[in-house]
Amino acid sequence: MSSRQPPRLAEWLLQHLLRMPDGEHILGDLREEYAAYVEREDSRLAADLWYWRQLGTSIPSLLARALRGPRIRGRAYEFSGAVGFIGSIVAAPLDRIQDAKLILRDFVRRPIFPLLVVLTLGVGVGVTATTFAVTNSVLLRPLPLPEGENLVFLRHLRLTDPSGQGGRMAPGAFVHYRDGSRLLEAMVAFSTEEVHVTDGTPMAIRIGYPTPGLGEVVGLPPVVGRWNSTEDLTTERWVAVLSHAFWVTRYGGDRSVIGSVLHLDEEAVEIIGVAPPEAASLEPEVQVWVPRPRPLDEQGFGGFGLNAIGRLRSGATLQELDVELSTLWATLGEALPRYERSWRYWNETFQVRPAPRYLLTERVRAVRDWIWLLLVSAAVVFLVGLSNVGTLSLVRSLDRGTDMAVRAAMGGGRPALTRLLATEALLLGGASAGLALLLTWTLLRGLPVVAVELIPRVQDVSLDATTMALTLGLAGIAVFVLVLIPSVRLPRDLAAVLRGSAQGGSPVLRRFQTGLLVLQLGLAAVLVVFGGLMGRSFWSLRSVDLGFSTEGLYTFQLRFPTRDDDDAEDKYAFFRGLQERIRAIPGVSAVSASECVPLRCGLGQGVVVEIDGRWLEEEEVEPIITSSMIIPGYFETLGVSTTRGRDVGWDDAWLPGVGEEWVMHTVLNEKAATELFPDVDPVGRHYRVGANGGRTTVAGVVPDVLLDGLSIGPQRSGLIRYLPDPRFDGMQWVVRSDLPAQVLLPAIREVVWETDPAVPVEGLADYHTLIAEASRDRTLILVLALGGAGLAVALGLVGVYGALSHEVRRRGRELGIRNALGADARALRASVMNRVAMMVLAGLAIGIMLAAASGRLLESVVYGVGTHDPGTYLVAAVVVALVAFGAGFIPAVHASRADPMRALRAE
């Protein structure tokens, strides 16, 4: 008879499609008919084809059945299965309201499950949607300029610098590219500087010095007036194009501003135009554009300190531009002989090469890796949450088997139950989506306030249509998981459930459930590894040796408007007098100033060309050193003392007119001392920076002090020279005092204003605050990473506990009987714990592989620890294992105490 059986696959498919009361009868009829067909036609093939055709033609009528009017004679038509679910959504609104009432009553009575589901999904979806919105708005959306995706930042790399850092643009290179490039249709170069507006309310602003071409690169007309152009190069006067923001805040958007005069550091500048608001995305910090009235061509080759932005012709790619600029760079010396010497120097000594990148990439470079990492973490949390909700839902549906069977017996029928479950899932999904949208909206509104200095373009982040769609889509997936699992799980034989003989959980479903838990543990392990690495990085940063004491140390800035009549002697007298006055404030124990104080530093760079009277040959790699001017007492104020030689004093000051050659006294840090003067005592020796630089004598050596950001460390050669210089108008002051900031600031301001009422005192901060600021982004990331890891682990705990306690309950009879027969309690516990161990092992294997694979993503965000740090991985594995075993322990104890009487009574 076995030869008379229809195709197994077709029958299996049909069996799952025919989720209607007569399904079994139809299958029976078809089998009978199939057998008759084989007999009649004597062809299995023809009979098989007939059977498959039956399967195919069944689908439309099943769909029609599900969708057609639900009622005949006022009785609810029945739905079930996947087909029924589609029908149930469109049908019977009245029944659905009834169902919803029932479900809500149930939720109020037993709120844990719905609360867990809505919180897990709402938070998971909300966080994912928020990070997606940030990724989309900050990293992916083109700059808001016409063909903004064609803007490129023209920078250079130094192949000799192992960090890959290099320069931006040199005037000489810019001139050559501007004249030679066919792929760039417009180019602008600019440097920026902080100056003071000296008429009206004094304020410090950042200005940019652009070349002609700014307007072409922006690609938009000015709001009023005109852009700067080549004709501004032939006049002697200074002109200005205001940024839109500056125009609005300072002039209230007055259109008659064109032609009026603005004083910048007492220089008169005529306003010729106002840039459109979109131009801010070129360089957000620049408030006023002041073109230099001298073409770049007349300058020397210069250093690589200019910002340069170009506009690619449409259709040209970045790779093509890279090739073109590399070719131009290679021929620069030949094409422009006046630059040849400088070009050779950069090209050979530092192996400078052009390396253009998209302007958008350049703008978001600092945060790109962070944001991707956040998005990945959020997605992982969502997946963990989803798989957890799946597990919870599965467990609950198994637990509710009896409840469901009773309902079915009381007249609902299987299809009504499916409809009930669908309504429940819609309610939970709707609530989760609502919570997610609310959370996303709140986070996105709050984000620009918190992160405006941290994330470029963050003010553009908004709850747009894409994000909304994503939120609803993710919530939709969640609903699907919520519906699918319980309805697949609905026991076929409800009567058997009532009799108590049904053993819930087919092997397939149990494997599916185990798979979910393994995945969940794996993803939790990934996030714990991330969190651990962030924690280690954070710890490394906080324990960085700054090289000085931060207790009671303050810093503030004084900037002097540049005046023509200043000379070095005035500055000398001013600094010296001011230092004495500030030190005289009661509570101040030391005060000094430097061009560059720790953590607030823009170091100048120079190349050492002569050591001890010996000119370095071109072939020798000249040490690059960074330098900063100080006034005496600097090291005393920082609490650093010289290890060799002496500190500099006021008497070491170099003043013009003394001697033919500049002789400066410098204090080197250890790093510079050992690099410039290996094997000899540097004190009293000489060197020279740059061909035109003055001869410098080393007065003393101090320990390395961290100058730049916390994560950069004192790896550069450092040089600190002492020279009050008339060109020099900005100084960062450091004060050692036991006064609180709110007392110290007014006292200092009073003293400064007694000396010069036009000088503002800016940015007073204590070093604890500065260090916290320097590690602020990392603090934020650490909190987020640990939060994500904690959430994933907590969800894993709930998932494992839920699944195992269900399993123990399901096996109650077996465990009870084994108990009654005197089974060893330890063996019973072990039978549960072994399952945990298997899941943990599989989960960790997955998690560790995933974490290791994402190591590259972490490279730029960890500090002081490897991305594959074995210790962190080990700790993460132990944490996940402990949590899983902890979650499994209570169910295991229950297993060993299963009551034989209860098991038997249930029978």
Partner: protein, 111 residues
């Protein structure tokens, strides 16, 4: 009373029940319709129609024995109810009334 008029296919199913008498079940109804009208609906479609008719009270069913050739599945038999007979007669009467006086109408002449 029947709330919804019979669809054409449902009418065929009811007529097949009359023809088959006590021997009516899903596949038999399906074959009866197919052999007489040449319309080949699926067995499932037949059952869907039977399900509706049963809900509407136009047919009744009872479960027969399970047999090995059916894979151990029981057979469901159907029979016309008096309501069903009424519905069929009404349907016929409706059609007849519409046909009244149309014999020999030029539009209906065979081409």
């Amino acid at each position: 009373m029947v709330e919804s008029p019979l669809s054409g296919f449902e009418e065929l199913v009811l007529l097949a029940l009359v023809r088959l008498g006590e021997g009516a079940y899903g596949v038999a109804v399906h074959q009866e319709i197919e052999s007489r009208t040449g319309r080949s609906a699926s067995v499932t479609a037949t059952y869907v129609a039977l399900e509706r008719l049963e809900h509407a009270g136009l047919a009744v069913s009872w479960i027969g024995d399970a047999t090995p050739v059916r894979g151990g599945r029981a057979k469901k038999h159907f029979r016309l109810t008096s309501q069903g007979a009424l519905a069929l007669r009404e349907a016929r009467a409706e059609v007849d009334r519409m046909w009244e006086g149309l014999e020999g109408h030029p539009d209906l002449a065979p081409q």
